[in-house]
Amino acid sequence: MKITVFTALILTLASPTLACETVTSGEMTIENAWSRATIGANRPAVFYVAITNAGSSGDALIGIATPAASMPMLHQTVVTEDIASMPHAMSIPIAAGQSVQLAPGGYHGMLMGLTEALKVGDNFPMTLTFQNAGDITINVEVLSIRAEGPDCESDGQ
């Protein structure tokens, strides 16, 4: 774990636009990983990312893990009859040949039990666990609390 954090620090120094990094593992491509700064460590943080499954069979995101939070969970904001609720997402299906966005107002990671407050410019590793593709780790960049997404040239959104 220490090595991961250390690597993350090195990466921060090397690249100011981490949210635009792309990680590809097999048929799965992960990009645009970002979060919002938090006020203190008591409030839950959020995790957004874009996932593309270039394979010919479906997969599913079934869990997330990070040293930044003790209780990371997958959630979905659902607005029904204008009431917003945030049920847990058991798994997020990533169909063959499709992209899925964890983005404001929809699927997102909810990071409870933050180790420390997230500040703009921080970054932390997030391991996404897929049913078939296994574990893939990406660095998450912390943007402003007002951010609506990273500015990436090849923005998948």
Binding site: R36, I39, R43, P44, A45, V46, I62, G63, A65, M71, P72, M73, L74, H75, T77, V79, E81, D82, I83, A84, S85, M86, P87, H88, A89, M90, P104, G105, H108, M110, L111, M112, T127, T129, D135, S144, I145, R146, A147, E148
Partner: protein, 200 residues
């Protein structure tokens, strides 16, 4: 690796429990029969509540008559909807420019337990300074919600709780009458024209 498995299994269990709770709970008010007119927010003149803003000022609905007003319900412990709505509103206010100075803009918390005036002030300092945050007793917040025909519900979860709440942004004309709602999933390009119409 073993730790991660445990976490994933934990999530499964928690999710199952939450799904069960959601299924059981449902929305108590959903089946209440309401005629069409009852669904519209009341004009401010017919609402009655008394809340406090993050600077300690008392705010009543009649205080908003005379200027167009934008109000929404939320809470600062929510990681997704509320920062997104506040960012959107901050963006709209910027786009409206000086016209936005004529607006009252308020977020009413549905979580007065955690959202004290101090907490609201701290949180809102990160967004457009024209947005005020209102809190008060649960009873006053319920009175406000009923005037807006808004709903909220506290939901226990993982030794903690979360709030379900009306997500739209309410617009009122300067005479205090209800103008329209900007829905949460509405195309953001329509928001600013809608606000301009309410401003008149």
């Amino acid at each position: 690796m073993r730790i991660r498995r445990a976490v994933i299994l934990g999530i499964g269990g928690v999710a199952g429990a939450a799904a069960f709770a959601l299924g059981l709970g449902g929305w108590r008010t959903r089946n209440r029969s309401q005629s069409g007119a009852d669904l519209l927010p009341l004009p401010f003149a017919d609402m009655s509540f008394s809340l406090t803003d993050q600077r300690g000022n008392m705010v009543r609905p009649e205080d908003w008559i005379g200027r167009p007003t934008m109000v929404f319900f939320g809470f600062t412990w929510c990681p997704d909807v509320c920062p997104t709505t506040l960012s959107d509103i901050s963006g709209w206010l910027e786009e409206l420019g000086t016209d936005a100075d004529r607006l009252n803009v308020a977020m009413i918390t549905v979580d007065p337990e955690r959202d004290t005036t101090e907490v609201l002030g701290d949180y809102l300092s990160h967004f457009d300074p024209r947005i005020i945050g209102l809190t008060g007793t649960l009873e006053e917040i319920e009175r406000a919600a009923s005037g807006f025909r808004a709903r909220f519900e506290k939901l226990a979860r993982d030794d903690d709780y979360t709030m379900n709440h009306t997500a739209g942004v309410f617009l009122f004309r300067s005479d205090g009458g209800f103008a329209s709602i900007i829905d949460y999933h509405e195309d953001r390009r329509f928001a600013v024209p809608k606000i301009r119409r309410a401003i008149g």
